[in-house]
Assembly symmetry: C2
Homo-oligomer: 206 residues x 2
DNA sequence: CTCAAAAAATGAACACGTTCAATATTTTTT
DNA sequence: AAAAAATATTGAACGTGTTCATTTTTTGAG
């Protein structure tokens, strides 16, 4: 008879997560009340809080899944045999942006970003920040890979350049999720415009 | 006897603003309750909402003052006769950072940023975003000014570079306000490390 | 001066995220 | 299998930002 408790627990966990993500996407994060999520999951409000620290924590599961997938895809892009900086860079950035709305709506992204800034000491914020840093590191890795291949000039500081580029990518993404009118292609165009000059500057003359 | 109403109104407006900024700095934004602000200002809670749309709106007056001042200081820096890109750029960025905690605490900045991301359709967010864009434009202006002076290479896209640099400056500032341990000098060091290589790349060989 | 209309002030009521003391269920001990 | 201990569930109550019907104050026309 042992394990009954563990089984119920796993089941409820799944039901709550499912209810929350469904409601977040359907009516938006703000309009999805804990009471509604709990009801849809067939538990009480109190039980919701036994499983998740707070409403914001529910988002992190989704954000995390999203970023993990895009990081994996990014590794594949870095491994490719690129022959020019701009092309490689825009492919990586494009992948980030293309993937970004797979699991999360713009509103969910805004909420996640907003929470991570407003309450930096929470586990939520720390996890969000850690994911950001891994993305930043991946852009640096791309530059290093291109440098090893002789595509990027030997005297370029790959960490400095990578951080600069990623921070711009990130800031532009913030503008993107703030503007419901803006689409991914418009975002990619703007970022291409900003980065192509830099890509040219760091390129090894052939 | 006319104007009594207008006079009272102006007086209350001032008292509420004063009470709010005092409390925000003293006990923090979150802990400063509307009830406390209203009491300190000698009005009722309802009256507070007659004067300000919501709590977040109270921050914008301060943010606005802060950014306006730094923009004015920035103009002075651009007007100087710089002889190298890195020096000019770091002076402008340094001024931004040095000034940033004059009126606002890190917590107030976090709240302002958080609000502007979470609710992009509010007047608050629109005003915040507009200030950001003016700062971004100012960095572009610096590059253009240096280019006219022959310090920056003729073939550099000043808008692209300026936006790239400013977005990095902004993102690093977000990291700064998220980390209570980090001081302004540490921030400036990191940003210098990121930007000096770029400054070198765009510099006109003399 | 009077008084009706306009403007402003008020605070009780509301909404919703969160907490917690009481209750119920499951597991372990004897 | 009964009792005790451990764990989980519950929903009413709380805190705080915000709203709104009611009351108070101010204004200006007659």
């Amino acid at each position: 008879m042992s394990g009954l408790r563990a089984q119920k627990k796993a089941d409820k966990n799944r039901r709550i997560l499912e209810a929350a993500t469904t409601l977040f996407r359907k009516v938006g994060y703000d309009s999805a009340r804990i009471e509604d999520i709990a009801e849809m999951a067939g538990v009480s409000v109190g039980t919701f809080y036994n499983y998740y620290k707070n409403k914001g924590d529910m988002l992190m599961a989704t954000v995390s899944m999203e970023v993990e997938e895009v990081l994996a895809a990014g590794e594949g892009i870095i491994a490719k045999k690129h022959d020019q900086v701009a092309g490689a860079l825009l492919e990586l950035i494009g992948k980030y942006y293309d993937h970004s709305l797979t699991y999360l709506s713009k509103e969910m992204w805004r909420t996640a970003m907003s929470l991570s800034i407003a309450q930096p000491e929470t586990p939520f914020s720390k996890r969000y920040t850690a994911l950001d840093h891994r993305l930043s590191k991946q852009v640096c890795d791309l530059f290093r890979s291109l440098q090893d291949r002789g595509i990027v000039r030997k005297d370029v500081d790959c960490t400095a350049t990578g951080e600069l580029v990623f921070n711009n990518v990130n800031m532009m993404f913030i503008e993107f999720v703030k503007d419901e009118e803006m689409n991914v292609d418009g975002l990619k165009d703007q970022v291409a415009r900003q980065n192509i000059p830099l890509a040219d500057l760091v390129s090894q003359a052939s």
